[in-house]
Amino acid sequence: MGGLISGVLLLACSFVAQLVVWRVRLPRRHTHALLALFAGVPLIVAGVAWAAGHAVASSAAEAARIVLFYGAYSLSYIVIYSAIENESPTLAIVSHVARAGPDGSSDAELETQFGRGTAMAARFAVLERGGWIRTEGDRIVLTTEGRTYARFFDGAARVFGLTLGG
């Protein structure tokens, strides 16, 4: 049970560290900052434990189990963080219809609320800010980083049998 407790405590430390950092200075690139934070906190905790003279009692297999547990939950959190950072349009539609109650929401209301929006423009801005695309005149081109991600997701969609979404 010690391994599970260690893993949960490490996740809690990283989460608290994120809360502190986010309040001191909100990072420009949240995902990169989260990756650095969740990778760095266990190293700092291990360093502090070593400096304080606490012996590491785990076997190699148990240590690997903690790394897998911590890594899997950290990455899952980082993946869902984008949904925390910005409300998903799909969930915004669900919330809007729920607020309408039993009377429901008409096609026209939804069209007014979500069908005239600037979803694409907002996404362009996020991608440009993240350094994935840049505008050249009236054309949009991928940066080197954006091309890498685009190829990765395009390849993954082919391998895993997924259609063009959005």
Binding site: F69, A72, L164
Partner: protein, 171 residues
């Protein structure tokens, strides 16, 4: 391999089973939702089979706490994989990246992409998915909530946003 290491690698075996089963099902049956569910179940079974194998062989050192931790780790892997697949299906940002990639080195025109993927198209795709998934019903031009699962998710994420992201909370 020792019992301790077999327990440790069991969630990785589960993840591999999840990916293989989902990929095969997606190409053979061509139903995304079914393929994801099949993969998830196959992965859990894969993890449990490895753990059961360790326990059944009566090797010294089988730890229930380690086994529980491995199953929990598999759940996180499966969730991560599901989210990754879901991103490909629903994310507008990934759709834009893939559209630009298809445009080649010179990229694509902003106006062209705006026309191909209008706000109406954006709304229509989401409403179709919500209706197909049983979240919303559509009768006589009126949309109503049929299942509150996604609503609970929306409220949970809104709470998390208020706690975690200070700029959102202060607005």
């Amino acid at each position: 391999m020792s019992a301790a290491w077999a327990i440790t690698v069991s969630p990785l075996a589960g993840l591999v089973a999840d990916i293989v089963a989902q990929t095969l099902c997606a190409h053979l049956v061509r139903r995304t939702g079914l393929s994801i569910a099949t993969g998830g179940v196959a992965g859990l079974l894969g993890t449990i089979v490895v753990l059961a194998g360790v326990a059944a062989h009566g090797r010294d050192g089988f730890e229930w706490a380690g086994a529980v931790m491995s199953v929990l780790t598999y759940f996180a892997f499966a969730f991560g994989y599901w989210t990754f697949l879901n991103l490909n299906i629903t994310s507008l940002r990934i759709r834009i990246l893939r559209e630009i990639l298809r445009g080649g080195e010179s990229g694509i025109s902003r106006d062209g992409l705006m026309k191909r993927y209008s706000a109406q198209e954006f709304l229509r795709r989401r409403l179709e998915r919500l209706e197909a998934g049983g979240t919303l019903t559509h009768e006589a031009g009126i949309w109503r909530l049929d299942s509150s699962t996604l609503l609970m998710l929306a409220r949970s994420l809104a709470f998390a946003r208020a706690v975690i992201v200070p700029s959102q909370r202060d607005e």
